[in-house]
Symmetry: C3
């Protein structure tokens, strides 16, 4: 790719570089050679930029003004990096390969270009739209609908009657549609309640490795468009997650909780059941949410409090012994 | 199902309804139509009950006395809901289907009505009793015994020599019998200790999706009758869990810990190794248990304290900066 | 095995035993019979030692001096136990068995003695060295290199182009090489960034059941020699873990964090991204690490503090209501 074309791709401005020189990929500042681009999202490391042998560096408009080396000025270097990386590593295209060892029920309807890898199992009445790729060892149970251009990586499981939108990605071992955790106590045992709702994933959803999404008890569990869930996350039955929300690994959302749009969760967050989290909430890693949260807030702690308060609390918590001593001393002096 | 028969099924009393009218299933209050039943476990939403078009509603004896619509009075609406749901959605019955692609060792002994789905692997000397159903892609290793009417969902794994009681359910991706995490430090490396105990699951145990239960080091890891474990739970080697205990997702129990009968754990609880938790303990989500717990208590926090104390502590923790200021002011005034 | 040989194996000294008597295995103190050895790592249970019918007991040099029963004195009974257990339960040896149902790409190069179990999938250009054993249902994607004497248990997944050193063990359901969680915000959506780095595992690494290790974004994710990761752990993209570090289950390390050598993590620890943890750090279960940690320290809490301080804090936290009252009373008395 010509350097000039790269600048166009990222909507940037080339400085000190030959637009005709060729770029073959992207690398870190330290590892890039003159045929590769690099980028700096964080402006604090000037020496990394100066020392890098990269053919060009994607830099923020105001980073290191006057620097004398090939750079492309962009408004968001991380986004520019993403665009370049996607140019050099486009998504694989399905071509209708069907491995002979895959077990595809005769009643399943797959678009002609759907790829099915070795030892995948596709059950009765499954429907898979054009451009989707089913990885090795995947299991798709009866009646499930999978939209266009989905990618199911190795060993992902989608149980019966679930719905995946377009361009959904399941990482290896992801489970979509396990039974919700629902029992009624009879006085002698926990009686299992049949879980007959579905899981419905919107478009452009990504589900992490070994993440589990339970099917609804009666109604569905619903994950909105553009939601990204990291690895080892638990989504309970009848949870609803709004469009474009994003969660880091090992978080868990208990049953019937509603998460708004555009929320961001750190890792290992826990949310109780039947809670409502407003749009655009940001929740710090390891937090515990026990009640409703107002839209737009930033929260942390167990139980959560506003993040700015948590910053003060967390700075004082290690000084609790000191506080205790002071109070004891004060009490003694008085007596 | 006739409304009159439904009342009998749930041991309830029909009010304002025609016992001959037909009910075809159960739905939420908002979504049910006149051919469907519904239920209200929580009595606070009178308008939902009044507005619902459900053919009948399962209601607690004392909820909304005098309400003028078809209801069935029961002592526990949630249990009644479970009974109705189970009536309309009975467990599938095994019928001896064996998919041609399954790999069943000739030395394995399966009852004639056991179902084995596509691409399941059943190893040497495995024994599977009547009525069990083995899902697609399951792996059952040599010498394992599986009792009557078990359901192993897609991709669940049971390693060598484990024992499952009757009517055990493994959700997709569950792992029963991974090696315990046992190493001895030689001064140069962590030397792995062969883990030769088994996992023994009692009757009516349910193991969640991608939950892992390690085999014992020498003795067995033992899960009692009627225990229900949610998704993504970790059970360390030689743990013992008493009958009817129930744990929400992402909890972890370290090696050799003993959990009593009838305990209830919230999500993301962690328990240290070699700890004894008495019968009937309730442990709040995200708690950390470092020592023994007396039977019958309710606990919360890291480390756990009695729940009633934790309620006070958690209300004060966000006010720690205020407390600190007060103490500082008090000290200054004195000096 | 003769008792005399057992003493030699563990570099111990036999007391009160007949060196010619035979030992057939190891058992707990309570369960061992006279043909079995046992051990006591913890010296507090004298009655267990006296009551045990074990043929011999591995005991620390200074435990119960003068006790009148067959014992072998060793410097580290737990290590001695490991050595005996490994003697009686040696690792299985690969013998070149290839199950007919396994799908092995013709371009894959496997040493002649590599075992491949039923329904494993081995992709194009995979290379597997001598003595390795590939379990049932495993998926190894194209271009991956697997060193000598590795054991991949049932359903473990290694995605494209990863590298496993010698004698690596993957427990069931482990995922090596899932895509890192990397997106750039365009203003309208989270744009996925292709994750083109690899996962590189050193020698003698063990990865727990359903643990996930993300591939790097550009550079690799690197796990050092002798690292042991328990079940359900999350390792983010571009994490580096130093040799001989060990982590208990359900811990999570966010992207680009560097963990030093010889570190020990309890369960459910969370570490933020881009953090540096020095060599030999010990981090208590359930801790949250938000910043760099100095080598050799012991830490606990959310956020972490030195463990000795956390011990004091955790003893006081449940007394926060009492502290609050004292301060209130003090304030009142003054006014």
């Amino acid at each position: 790719m010509r350097l000039g074309d790269l600048a166009v791709l990222v909507s940037g401005r080339l400085e000190h570089g030959d637009p005709e020189s060729e770029i073959s990929g992207i690398q870190t500042l330290a590892a890039a050679d003159s045929s590769q681009a690099s980028f700096l999202a964080n402006t604090s490391y000037r020496h990394l930029v100066e020392d890098s042998r990269a053919g060009v560096i994607l830099l923020a408009e105001d980073a290191f003004p006057g620097i004398r080396r090939p750079v492309i000025r962009v408004s968001d270097p991380y986004l520019a990096f993403a665009l370049v990386q996607r140019h050099f590593h486009p998504e694989p295209v399905a071509s209708g390969k069907r491995h002979a060892s895959a077990v595809i029920d005769p009643s399943a309807r797959l678009a002609s270009d759907v790829d099915v890898a070795a030892l995948a199992v596709i059950g009765p009445n499954v429907r898979i739209e054009s451009g989707s790729r089913i990885g090795p060892g995947c299991v798709i149970e009866q009646g499930t609908m999978i939209g266009e251009r989905c990618t199911l990586h190795a060993h992902s499981v989608v149980t019966a009657s679930c719905v995946l939108g377009r361009h959904v990605v399941l990482q290896p071992g992801a489970v979509v549609g396990s039974d919700g955790f629902g029992y009624a106590w009879t006085g002698r045992e926990h009686l299992p309640i049949p879980q007959i709702g579905r899981v419905v994933l919107g478009d452009n959803v990504e589900i992490g490795a070994n993440t589990c999404i339970d099917r609804g008890a009666i109604d569905d569990t619903v994950i909105g468009n553009g939601v990204k869930l990291d690895n080892l996350i638990q989504i309970g039955h009848n949870v609803r997650i709004g469009d474009l929300s994003i969660m880091a690994s090992q978080s868990g959302i208990s049953g019937s909780t509603v998460v708004g749009q555009g929320c961001q969760f750190g890792g290992q967050v826990g949310v109780a059941g039947h809670v409502h989290i407003g749009d655009g909430c940001r929740i710090a890693a390891k937090s515990g949410v026990l009640g409703n949260l107002e839209a737009g807030g930033t929260y942390a702690g167990i139980p959560v409090m506003p993040h700015r308060i948590w910053l003060k609390v967390s700075a004082l918590i290690a000084r609790l012994p000191e506080l205790w001593k002071r109070v004891e001393r004060g009490t003694k002096e008085k007596s």
